[in-house]
Amino acid sequence: MAELDSRIDYAPTHEMNGIKYRRGHVLPFGGTMVPNGVNFSIYSSAATACTLVLFKKNEDIPYTEIEFPQEFRIGNVYSMIVFDLDYENLEYGYRMDGPFDPVEGHRFDKNKILSDPYAKAIGGRDTWLGDPKWDSPFPFRSKLVFEDFDWEEDKPLEIPTEDLIIYEMHVRSFTRHSSSGVKNKGTFAGTREKIQYFKELGVNCIELMPIYEFDEWEHSKKHPDTGELLINYWGYSTLNFFAPKAGYAATGKYGMQVDELKTLIKELHKNGIEVFLDVVFNHTAEGDHRGPSISFKGIDNKTYYMLTPEGYYYNFSGTGNTLNCNHPVVRNMVLDCLRYWASEYHIDGFRFDLAAILGRAQDGSPLNNPPLLESLAYDPILAKCKLIAEAWDAGGLYQVGSFPCYGRWAEWNGKYRDTIRKFLKGEEALVGELSQRVQGSPDMYLSRGATAGINFITCHDGFTLYDLFAYDYKHNDANGENNNDGGNDNDSWNCGWEGETSDPGINYLRHKQIKNALTILMVSQGVPMILAGDEMGNTQYGNNNAYCHDSELSWLNWDLLKSNSDLFYFAKHVISLRHAHPVLRNKYHFQNRDYKGSGYPDISFHGVNAWNADWSDSSRVFAFMLDGNHAKNGFLTDDFIYVAMNMYWDGLPFELPMLPEGKSWHVSVNTEMPPMQDFYPVSQELKIENQHSFIVGPRSIIVLIGK
């Protein structure tokens, strides 16, 4: 049998200056290792010529450039195999020739060397905040990666969506602080050192803020007053959709970021933890007509971007440009990208930043049946991946509750956040809406089930949970934009003093409010998401938009685990409570009736009087009871759970619903109580003496278990 590398198509047909090459394979796009060489393939709808530019690592000048002979172009795709390349030390790019005619949508410039949209790694930002090389004409070079990672038995975990507890985190913020105790601070390897922490806390899914390669130096500046360096810290500005952020890898300097990230994912999976990526397909790092030409803009501007009739960039993302997601070619790129991450990196789910944009037509108008969203929903490779939309965009399209879902898509439930915040701060006329939110928002997701909503009270955007109860107003002066950036609709309440205070009463109330928030989140139907650090009272000092701070403002201070140990223990408890009780984790909505013949409906609503919820506008109390006979939509049996919330400023006696013969109420959570008496561990709940009534403290929540 002939050996693979002796096939005739793996031998060169052309030679130039000692470089051997031949016609390539049109698919897959990108640079792919093949026997004896590398297959390069790139698409451009309007280029007139294309040149492959090859560099040796770290050298400023290319060592060779090979123009694609016209016979190497099939349709609009240029492909070529180049032989005998040094995989590890090769960096490459393309020159595209064609018209520079912005009104027509074309911005070709053959003087520019462009990065491959399908590159699997990008050079230039190998270490975090390394030399920005401002003078380099082509800082972001495409690189090859080995796609031979040994996953052994690993595969995506496929945890049922309703059983997830998502933990949203920034790779660098999570372990960069000196108190993190890890060896490789601020990296994928550092996150791996914290796996036991995730397990102790009880979360079973981490959602990583953007880890696609971005340029932290983008729009960097010094704060006009403090001189602090402000950077693109969060990374919601993608350079390349296939390449992981090298600066997040301790081994990025050796070009091993791919292996380091895959090792992290493999270890997380081994420990029962899924990995979601926050992906930003709505725009790129190339900005508007004033921005740099790094890749897409010079390769095929008209294909990749939504353009106005005058050739300017639509700006539905608020960042300068908008990726042309429903162009068939771009749609395929997004699909290729997600398939790549799902199959090569074993990613379990994706959260799509400003996903409403993905439902816009090429002229920006919202589509009824967006092909991209449909393709993703029905894709065979993504079939078990969780797909989560941030169902709004910066162009005013707000689709929470109406995002085109195709039976698959879930949404960040922004209404959940708003309702819970307002209720917690004591606003009136919310009980009706609150009842919907804790049921998994059937008013919004009637046909989609409880798992259509990702419930959250805080996320990276906005206040941390501690700051939600420590600040009435945002304090974003450190961002250098005169406090004009960040949202003003925070629904926050400082509990009596703006910012830090030594007042024990205020601090007690703040901790209680955090516990109230965590309790509501964990007893609500739907999928809870916690912002990293909220479980230990992390603060950003009132900054509700810390996108530019690579400093202690953003870095998680692990010393808080000690100083706010009551919060951490409490968070652990309510998480374990959720895991212990399937009645809290229904996939489908309640039917508000007894379909099991238990004598109790699956969910019932109460107030200070049992079976009599106060829905009036002046009400600040709400209680509900779940009948364990209807757990997991009737497939499992569980205890009864009764939750009473009192956001009135005085304590109130709540009449307790009567349990079936032989069962009695036990306290699991009482946020009014001091630390260590505020909860009782699962299966060690305290039986209460008075089984008929319970005084719920001011601005407090109790959870009782009926068993």
Binding site: Y87, E88, F146, D150, A250, D259, E260, T263
Partner: protein, 109 residues
């Protein structure tokens, strides 16, 4: 890169000196895989190795797989702290037994 090969009973001891990177990995791969065909017991002495690149780590894993398929054993000797650290972060370390000296490695067979 220099490669020295000795035999101790049925164990092959391969000592490498220098850097295992994309320049040297093909030669390293050729030599070590041909040795791995002859035996199921290998000691790989890396105490004089200064750097192992991504391509180098892949050769190590390839040998591991080959030896493992014969129910054999490969032990790495004398890896520098820095290389060990890189192998830890990229997960390659999980596949290997690592000891400090050749004598120690011999006891493990």
């Amino acid at each position: 890169m220099n490669i020295k090969i000795q035999t101790e009973k049925d164990i092959i001891i391969i000592s490498v000196e220098g850097s295992i990177d994309s320049y040297t990995a093909p030669e390293f791969q050729k030599k070590i895989l041909s040795e791995a065909e002859q035996t199921s017991k290998i000691i790989l002495d890396l105490s004089l190795v200064t750097f192992v690149s991504s391509a180098g780590l892949r050769v190590l894993l390839m040998v591991y797989r080959q030896i493992k398929s014969k129910n054999g054993k490969i032990i790495l000797v004398g890896i520098s702290e820095e290389i060990k650290e890189v192998m830890t972060m990229t997960g390659f370390i999980n596949f290997f037994e690592i000891v400090t000296t050749i004598e120690e490695a011999l006891i493990h067979f």
